[in-house]
Amino acid sequence: MVAPIYIIAIALGLAFTMGLFGKQLKNIAGVLFIAGLGSLTFISGQWLWNFMVNSAATEIIYTAGFKPPFAIVLQMGFEEAVLTTMINVAGLLGALYLFPLLDKKGNNAMMVYLIFIMSTNVAVMTSDIFNLFVFTEVESIALAGLILLTGQSKAFQAGMKYLIVSGISSGLLLLGIIFAYQFSGSLTIIDMINANLWAVKASSIAAFLLIVAFIIEMKPFPANGWGIDVYTAAHPGIGAMVSAAGASASLYVFYKVMPLVNGNDWYYFIALIGAITFVGSNLVATRQENPNRLLGYSSIGQVGFLMMILGLQDVLGERTLIISFSILISHYAAKAGLFWISGILNAENIKDWSALRKNPILLFLFGAFLFALIGFPPFPSFFGKWELIMTLSQTGNYSWIVVILVASFIEGIYLFRWLGYAIKLDHAQLPAFKTPWYQLIPIMSMGLILFGMSAYLTHVFNFGPAINYIPLLFVLAIFAIDFLPAYIKNTVSIAGIAYYTYYLWPSLENDLLRQIFIGIFLGGAILTLVAGYAKKGTRAGFYPMALMMFAGLVGLIEAKSMLQFFFNWELMTAGSYFLIIRGKRSMPHAYSYILFSIAGAYAILMGFGLAYGSQLNGNLDALSQISLLPALAYSLLAVGFMTKTASLGLHIWLPGAHGEAESDVSPMVSAILLKAGVFGLILLFLSIGVDNPNATTLLYVLGWVGALTTLIGNMGAVFQEDAKRLLAYSSIGQLGYILFAFTFMTHMGWLAGFTYTINHFMFKAILFLVIGGIVVKLGTHNMYEMGGMIKKMPFSFIAVLISIIVIGGIPPLSGFAGKWLFYNAVIEKGWYFQGAIIFFAGIVAFLYLFKLIYSVFLGQLKDNHRNVKEISAWILIPSYILIIGIMIFSAFPQYILQPISDMIAPHFQSETITWTGSLATTSLGYWDATTIMIVVGTAFMLLLGWLIWLSAKAQKVEQFNIVFAAERPFRPETTHVSYNIYAGYQKALGWIVAPGITNFWNTMSTNLLEFAGWTRRIYSGSIQNYTLHVILFIVVFYLISIGGL
């Protein structure tokens, strides 16, 4: 074991030696520099290993051979080992990254860098407050030098600001130290803590000065302009160091000195400052376009978050460390990686990050880092946030949860915008950049650390058993073979999913609900993937993401605990986000999708938190007995799930996201993904149970929401010109039906809901597949540019026709089953007006259905479509399989509905539908699908035969052979009436779909951004203003905490 003191000795010795090497021996200096950092890493790393494997005792390093408090003592415990390892690893990688720059600036720059790392290490290890001061000072002076590496003017400005403010804060720290020394008679932190400085007002001022100086070091909002400027002006490599190593160290230092003010109120204030910083920084970041500055805001926000967690340690108890570590490590790896990527790109505006897509590795890492920051699984921050929120809600600290979630959401706003730019922003010319190996390796290492820590922390949190790794491994495997042609990956994926379905099925033996959804999810997956054979090329990135989504969906089904559920929920969200953003123009839509999704996910998280807090039980069945604010909890959960089902008010992401997605992605996200929300709602409603007094109002409101969603969705679809958007609006409407049906909480309502769910899955998959295929074939989304396709694509036409009959609820096909059950359920439940709206909406559906089938298939064939062929058989095959499904369901619904009916019966008082063969009877009416099918079929064939007999000899004519007021048509385009076909209807009822909700959200976001823009004006750029902020912060904090305000 190498003693930790050698960290200092080696680093300083080397730094001092470097002065000896002139220009001639520069190379040796460089080698020594890297070797020195390497040995630091080795020392801290071996201690870490020692603690982890051998669980060694904490090592105390006495300097000068005397006991504390008389001499300075360093401490190397497990926590210090972790922190120093983090710092040194970052330091080593950062040095590698910066090596050419440092090399150019000469030995001096290397020395400064080395001392920076060394002093950060010492600050972590020391347990003497003055020593801490000295080495923080060394650190900040070294940093002030490193800022200047770029040699740009703004770097000098930033450095000046940094020097002045940190000078003031260290002055205050000194004052605090000296007074605290006077009161406690010692300079070691532990003695000062034991002296209970905070207890008496006299000495509490000293403690105040101490703590406030450390707080200022962590750049609390709004007294942090100086810190942000450093991030902006410094070389990104240095920014990475500040953000990763510096922030980690200062947090740990803060953690060490916090007990100085160990009174609950103080901790509360600290948490409050952290929270304000977390929210404020993220808010201001929303308007930021400079990547480094944005990362700076984000870093400060994360540090604020961690400060808040530390401030809440009384509440969190022993989990504090592990929670904060998991968030810290995500921040550490992600920020370092992001800053480094920023250095490679060297872009002034985040829009230029679109160049990143030239390098898939970097893009992948970029995405991973962003997701880690926001807290998506499987990254450590996910588990950290989960644990944090569960613990907080267990102790009733709801307002903190709200703060965390709001701030995380705001964080998502700008991070996802950024990601969107990188993946999809249109750029005439992508700026060129080079990726040298020495810069790539650090970034990749951070990626590895991130993933490694994910695996490790999953283990530490003991979440390992909760996570099903098989699908994840499969996703990884697919990712590994991403370079292969699409059809191979397609086959592998289908085989994998099929096998997994087979493997999973026995475990769902007695669970029809999950069987249905596994059928929808995985069956749908296979069918939509079959359509993927139609695509050529490698389709890089498609399969891993699609499979990730399906893995999430499967996970939802398998989930037994809330954590599993949420984990998979997020997994699915992430996968689907990447799927959606693949569309040509889908960047803004994917953005709004992910924002709604994470907002919804946070609502779910909070709901879960309340459930967990009530029951101290992580299983999903805890949902049924929420005792903490049950009404709120249920509402939150419902809202969360409704973001996925795109219910009224939360639906605006859907049309764009579904409409612009790729042709086989649309069915995945519409027919399959939306059902995840439905599944969630079903689980929720099952947990709520019938006659739950806490949810009566909620259900009633949701019922109305469902009804209005249906109306708005269908109305919206009527006025669409874009075929896929029309279908997307139709999805909103259909999901409204489903939501409405499930809110009945009656046997009949649920039966209707299930019928709708199954139907919607089938017909929407068909429609999106076929229409998507046609859109690709015809090269346009606009229906008025299509027309006459029936002659070119008869099979597509039949598929669409049948789907349309089902949507319309026209007997004898299965859509009618839904309608019939609905009528019965509505009247039985007594929700007449909602029912009337629903039925009205159902008729409105005819408008858009007609528009769809007419504009695309009927009417006039266009010039440029005269030679198109039928869409790919690979799309038609799954469609026709689904059509067969529809036909079976239509003719023999009893075989499916009866088991469902039996399954849900126990949850309700009575079974209100009886089956005699194919005849279903309720208290109100009866319906015999098979007979109707036979009667209608027979009559139809007879009539058809009659007509054919009468007009068999009809002359086939061409499309312009129409009576045109004795003229001939001009062109197909002018003869095809499709654009704004429902003008009259729009005049009468168009106000219903006036974009009120979109406007509402737009106003919200504009206001938020305006507010952010207004807030960030406090960062006026003036040194003196920044000083003013700091002093103001100190005074206000003082007045509040001690001054008795």
């Binding site: 609820g809 009416g925 009468l950």
Partner: protein, 280 residues
């Protein structure tokens, strides 16, 4: 059954003319079936009229015509009122598709108008049906008829006047006579949806409209006017119901499509809501 289609021509007499002979529709029909030239725009051009006729026939098939008669209750045992309501769409869809296949712009315009109007026509109808379902606690037409037996005062017309009024107003639209006939506006968009239809195709369509009108009238008779226990009663009642729309039609001018949409959502809907409220 086709007899009542002759009544359509009586409209002429209201405007002071002698009008057509009572058998004229059959002649027209015969003529249409006898035309020699037929042209077809495609498969759906065939299927459209078949769907359309199927809608009428289907509605007819699933509706009990004469109370108490096993034979004339048709296939009503396999579906109830909801089935009938939704079977209307079957025909509509057929018309829409067939007309669309013709590729004629006027057809599309006509259909868009028709569908637009239809959405709101159905609102009062739906409300009335819900009201009936609450009143009689059943959706079975046969049972509704049964409940109305025993004297004129047991008819829904008197037991639930609001629902009746709402439904009767909606019937005006369903029959598509003036003022709600912009769909077919003969001179603006020549005859609307069926503008390309001729010969046997048109014959089928006309057959259907005859059946459909009877079926709808019979439906209303069953729901609101006590049903029919014998043929004579059936004919008289459907005739009278039909006449109601004819009378209104001769008096009022045509509505624009947005006007009719709004109109249906105004008074008939309010009445329909009242019909439900009284049962709440």
């Amino acid at each position: 059954m086709l007899m009542s289609s002759t009544m359509r021509r009586i409209i002429a007499r209201v405007s002071g003319r002698i009008g057509i002979p009572w058998y004229q529709p059959w002649i027209d029909l015969t003529k249409l079936y006898s035309l020699r030239t037929q042209i077809s725009h495609g498969t759906m051009f065939y299927l459209g009229p078949v769907f359309r006729l199927m809608g009428g026939v289907g509605m007819f098939l699933f509706m009990p015509m004469i109370f108490g008669s096993d034979l004339w209750s048709n296939y009503s045992f396999s579906g109830d009122l909801v089935l009938i309501l939704y079977f209307q769409f079957f025909g509509m869809l057929g018309m829409a598709l067939g007309a669309g296949e013709g590729g004629h712009p006027y057809s599309a315009i006509g259909i868009s108008r028709g569908l637009s109007q239809f959405t709101t026509i159905e609102v009062p109808m739906t409300l009335a049906v819900i009201s009936l379902a609450i009143q009689y606690d059943t959706l079975s037409i046969a049972k509704i008829v049964e409940a109305q037996q025993g004297g004129i005062m047991h008819w829904t017309l008197f037991t639930n006047p609001f629902a009746t009024v709402a439904a009767m107003l909606s019937l005006l639209g369903a029959f598509g006579h003036s003022p709600f006939n912009l769909v077919k506006a003969p001179n603006e968009i020549p005859i609307g949806p069926p503008t390309e239809y001729h010969g046997t195709f048109l014959g089928v369509l006309r057959t259907n409209s005859a059946i459909l009108h009877v079926a709808e009238a019979a439906l209303f008779m069953n729901l609101f006017f006590g049903g029919a226990s014998n043929w004579f009663e059936l004919i008289i009642k459907t005739f009278l119901i039909y006449f109601w729309s004819v009378f209104v039609g001769t008096v009022f001018p045509r509505f624009r499509i947005e006007q009719s949409v709004v109109w249906f959502l105004k008074w008939p809907t309010i009445i329909g809501i009242i019909a439900i409220i009284i049962y709440l």
